[in-house]
């Protein structure tokens, strides 16, 4: 691996969020579910905002969803992204009811619209980091 050439910002995982990142390396998208009331939440947090339980488990999401909004970046605010301009960031409503953001892959600009079905895929970034992306479903 040529990790020294990875120029983009790396996520600083905490014990609270590490399972999310580890799961991606196994090709799984997992989100938090409250152990007490069962409600799902994302991004990861410490306390269930519905019942205040601090116990949670990680459940696998289907990985399917629809576009909620998007932007196509034409300016790199970080040198690590200069080489891939323009790139499109999708905000996606996952089937489980939470949202996430990731780059689009292989979706033509003209096809972008609210409600477009997408599914998650996984791209290896470094030996220790796999990032989610979205492709057409």
């Amino acid at each position: 691996m040529t990790e020294t050439t990875y120029m983009k910002p790396l996520p600083e995982a905490s014990p609270d969020t590490l399972p999310f990142w580890k799961s991606l390396q196994d090709g799984k998208l997992r989100i938090q579910a409250c152990s007490a009331c069962g409600k799902l939440r994302h991004y990861p947090r410490q306390v269930c905002p519905y019942c205040y339980s601090m116990e949670h488990k990680w459940v696998e999401a289907k990985g399917t969803g629809t576009i909620h909004s998007w932007t196509t970046a034409h300016h790199a605010f970080h040198p690590g992204f200069k080489g891939e301009l323009p790139y499109t960031l999708l905000t996606v409503d996952l089937a489980e009811g939470v949202r996430m953001q990731a780059q689009a892959r292989g979706i033509a600009a003209g096809k972008l619209k609210i409600g477009l079905p997408v599914k998650v895929a996984f791209e290896i970034a470094t030996r220790d980091l796999t990032l989610p992306v979205f492709v057409s479903a």
Binding site: H42, S69, T71, H75, H78, V98, M100, A102
Partner: protein, 385 residues
Amino acid sequence: MSLKAKGAVTGVGDTRYSKNSGKSVTTLQMEASLAAIRDAGLDPKEIDGIIVYGNMAVVAEDFITNFGIADLRFSAVTPLGGASAVASVQCAIAAISAGICNHVLIPLGRNGSSGAGGRIGSRVREMPQFRTIGEFEMPMGAIAPAQLYAPMARRHMELYGTTSRQLAEIAVSTRHNAILNGNAMMTKPLTVEDHQASRMISDPLRLYDCSLESDGACAIVVSSAERANDMAQPRVQVLSVAEAHPDSPSAITQRPDMTRLGIAKAAPRAFEMAGVTHKDIQVAEIYDCFTYIVMCQLEDLGFCKKGEGGPFVASGAIKLGGKLPINTHGGLLSQAHMAGLNHVVELVRQLRGEAGKAQVKDAKLGLVTGYGDMGDGTVAIMARG
């Protein structure tokens, strides 16, 4: 008890705004602060409260040392990004009303253009308010506010038919006002066509939808409404002030309604506290980090319905001479990015009748907003007299 009509802005000051000040941030803030304190007719040693900006580039201790303040009784920080300036006004009036102190200095200054802190893409990564984004969105390429906010604008466009040309109207009228101001970084007229021809930054936001990076400083002094009666300037009372945080304040992505900002919660409180209605407002200084954020706030404030912001701003209503002139100083888009404290300074000057060529005739009642980070919102309604 409420803060209704308890406080007043008794002094305002600013430096020249530029791309490269050649001065330290501390020097800039001292210069603007001395100007504001003199404007209020006070001796710097009479300042007994200070609220510094969230980046803590200059802290209360620096003012104690420079002014020789013997007994500073109150210091605070309001870490709400661009909503901080108006939040500081609320904090100051709360402290004064509680009897803790008499005259609170609120300084804000930066070398946002030339400074060692770097430009916006690198600055926000260091802010704790961006921690969640830093972990879950920046690695994907959503680095800077333009990229984080663009999906809000895109969704508004898709849901309501809002257009880039409508957003351009905000940039154009703001530029017009900046040229009238005389202390603005941008001095060339701008047309809708110039806006449409400017390069795309993060679709749908073009270069002229984005605010400036600026060097400079401004400052205000807040005192009790009672004391303000006997101070140097015509009294500008803060009739009401309110702060609110949006749903999902750490990540826009997770917000139930991506087109609703925190100010939607603050605005009804502010109007009720002031006891005025929307049509009473003669001038409004609306936080303008991006054109879209101005339009969305106008909706969330209630000046038009949700979804009607595009036609509202394109109608001419927001121009000088329109029914709600906004950003009469040129805002963050064309005067300077002083994180919205320059909006407070301008509202005070409008209400004193000191706004020069951009003076709104007989302006007696106005409104100023702040917008910060992922959508924190603040609003104050002020009146002369």
